[in-house]
């Protein structure tokens, strides 16, 4: 299904991107071309094929990925806020929400 400019605007909104009119015009044909390209997968018969789950090797799948829930020191408030664009009184500060 070809992607048009209004699809691009809707996708941008879903992705929290405030893209410009000019960008919509550039992106729409580019993304449409890529989507057309990936649709070549439709020629592959995948009935009864299980989807892959990530990149794990069999050994990776066997490796226990859980650990005991032990309390340990974490980053801490000072370090966590150090790189914030706007922090105040031990919090991240953002523009008004409502």
């Amino acid at each position: 299904m070809p992607i048009n400019e209004s699809d691009i605007e809707k996708i941008a909104q879903l992705a929290h991107l405030e893209i410009s009119r000019e960008e919509v015009k550039v992106f729409a044909p580019q993304i449409a071309e890529i989507v057309t390209y990936v649709e070549q997968l439709n020629e592959v018969d995948t009935r009864s094929i299980e989807p892959a789950l990530g990149g794990l090797t069999p050994e990776g799948e066997l490796t226990a990925s859980t650990r005991d829930d032990v309390v340990a020191p974490s980053l801490g408030q000072r370090l966590a806020l150090e790189e914030a664009p706007d922090a105040a009184a031990g919090h991240f500060r953002v523009p008004k929400i409502l």
């Binding site: 991107l17 992106f27 892959a52 090797t57 790189e83 914030a84 523009p95 008004k96």
Partner: protein, 486 residues
């Protein structure tokens, strides 16, 4: 010149007092500073930190046993966290973000005595095959500064090729270590998925990302892999598989090795010089006593399509965290929270990152998930099966690393799909989770490097490195020096 020797020889000269870590570090930093105007390979050069660290290594050597990388200078791609240095990911949205912690691979390198000299330039969030997507300017190829170094880890590849450092780390999601290694004429390894920790690597596509290694010598890759490989509790996808002695695996043995030749991948779209060079490498292996067997990977032709669905889907999710709240850039003067998010991301991300976020958002959106993402994961299963069958009759598969040599800066920048097709030989390894090694095999008629790729089964790094080392020993002239060199 430190780069004409192996890092083990450099380390030994430091340990025996013939030189010291400080002077080795100063010479690497000096080379980085001198060449950065022409290459733009580094986004940050840490002269003070490197010299301080090297002096510490020198002091420790007086008392303690020398670690395996004592005084070895190394460059790190700017999407891997190093405490005290920036991690921009080549993006305005992170800018001069300074992470408060080290990636696990960095802790391991430092414990082994390595000296980090700086952070290398890359395509924004590792998305690209030419380095032209960096927000901080394109890296230039040391073989021809009008050409791209490949990507996304182009700065690391250029830094090693130009003799600034003997080894560098990059990340490889679809070929981002192997392809620039090929285009710059150095060795590049993407290890098996789960071989080393991704903790502290800024995520692009988590089921494909793996930290990889650049060096001029295969043996140096083996040395560094031995340091960074292994299980890490901070990364649940690292596997509990013993780390063998990769250097000891370089025993020169090749008789009895079976190398798979996928004839169908040497056809349309492959540059004639690249084909001739890689077929020359196949002949070299045959002459050295390897058995060349024909193999077929019937689903490899779908790999780019599968990759650009899965990678963009995962990226759209991973990059949701960049919203101007906790770190990095925030757009000014947004009246309320949602518009702050949207403007921050609009101003902070470059065009290729936006394109991929939108493509990923689209393939995951309601009504399309089954048609794209689910379908791609099914074809990924078929591709894994292709490799399983192929590795039943061979120990490694040889392909070109890239269909062309380094192309001109600007040549493909307006055609994203053409750019994606550069990754045709490399994305399969990431989709299947298998290791891949790119080895230089000479120059094209235009004097540009060509590389071949060896793919192997899970955990076959010892065999891949052995085969790569055998080739380099047999063809020492395959590792040439570019015009721009330290």
């Amino acid at each position: 010149m430190i780069t004409s020797e192996t890092i083990t020889q450099t380390r030994d000269r430091i340990v025996t007092g013939e030189t010291n870590a400080r002077s080795v570090a100063e010479s690497a930093v000096g080379a980085a500073e001198k060449l950065n105007g022409s290459l733009n390979a580094f986004l940050e050069i840490d002269r003070q930190g490197a010299v301080t660290r090297a002096s510490e290594v020198d002091a420790q050597l007086k008392n303690d046993a020398a670690p395996v990388l004592a005084g070895v200078p190394i460059a790190i791609k700017d999407n891997i966290c190093v405490r005290g240095l920036q991690t921009s990911c080549g993006s305005k949205i992170l800018g001069d973000y300074h992470p408060p912690y080290n990636a696990t691979v960095i802790d391991r390198l430092l414990a082994a005595g390595a000296v980090i000299i700086g952070k290398t330039n890359c395509d924004e969030f590792a998305m690209g095959s030419s380095n032209e997507n960096s927000a901080f300017g394109t890296v230039k190829n040391p073989w021809d500064t009008a050409r791209v170094p490949g990507g996304s880890s182009g700065g690391s590849a250029a830094a090693v090729a130009a003799g600034i450092v003997p080894v560098a780390l990059g990340s490889d999601t679809g070929g981002s270590v192997r392809q620039p290694a090929s285009l710059c004429g150095v060795v590049g390894l993407k290890p098996t998925y789960g071989r080393n920790s991704r903790y502290g690597l800024v995520a692009f596509a988590s089921s494909l990302d793996q930290i990889g290694i650049f060096a001029r010598n295969v043996s140096d890759v083996a040395t560094v892999l031995g340091v960074i490989a292994g299980r890490d509790p901070h990364d649940a996808t690292t596997a509990d598989v013993p780390v063998p002695d990769y250097v000891a695996a370089l025993n020169g043995e090749i008789k009895g090795s079976r190398i798979g030749f996928p004839r169908a991948l040497f056809g349309r779209g492959l540059d004639a010089d690249v084909r001739a060079s890689v077929e020359g490498a196949v002949q070299t292996y045959r002459d050295l006593g390897a058995e060349i067997v024909e193999v077929d990977l019937p689903h490899a032709k779908y790999a780019i399509a599968v990759y650009y669905i899965i990678a963009t889907a995962e990226a759209s999710s991973n990059l949701a965290r960049f919203d101007g709240v906790r770190y990095g850039f925030r757009a000014e003067e947004a009246p309320e929270l949602r518009s702050m998010y949207r403007r921050t991301r609009e101003e902070g991300f470059g065009p290729e990152v936006k394109r991929r976020i939108m493509l990923g958002t689209y393939v995951l959106s309601a009504g399309y998930y089954e048609a794209y993402y689910h379908k791609a994961q099914q074809v990924r299963t078929l591709l894994k099966d292709d490799f399983r069958r192929a590795f039943a009759v061979c120990d490694a598969i040889i392909t070109p690393t890239s269909p062309t040599t380094a192309f001109m800066i600007g040549e493909k920048v307006n055609d994203p799909l053409a750019m994606y097709l550069n990754d045709i030989y490399t994305v399969t390894a990431n989709l299947a989770g298998i290791p891949g090694l790119s080895v230089p095999c000479g120059l094209s008629s235009a004097g540009l490097p060509v590389g071949f790729q060896l793919l192997g089964p899970y955990w076959s790094e010892p065999a891949l490195l052995r085969l790569g080392d055998v080739y380099q020993q047999a063809r020492p002239s395959s590792l040439a020096r570019p015009p721009v060199y330290a």
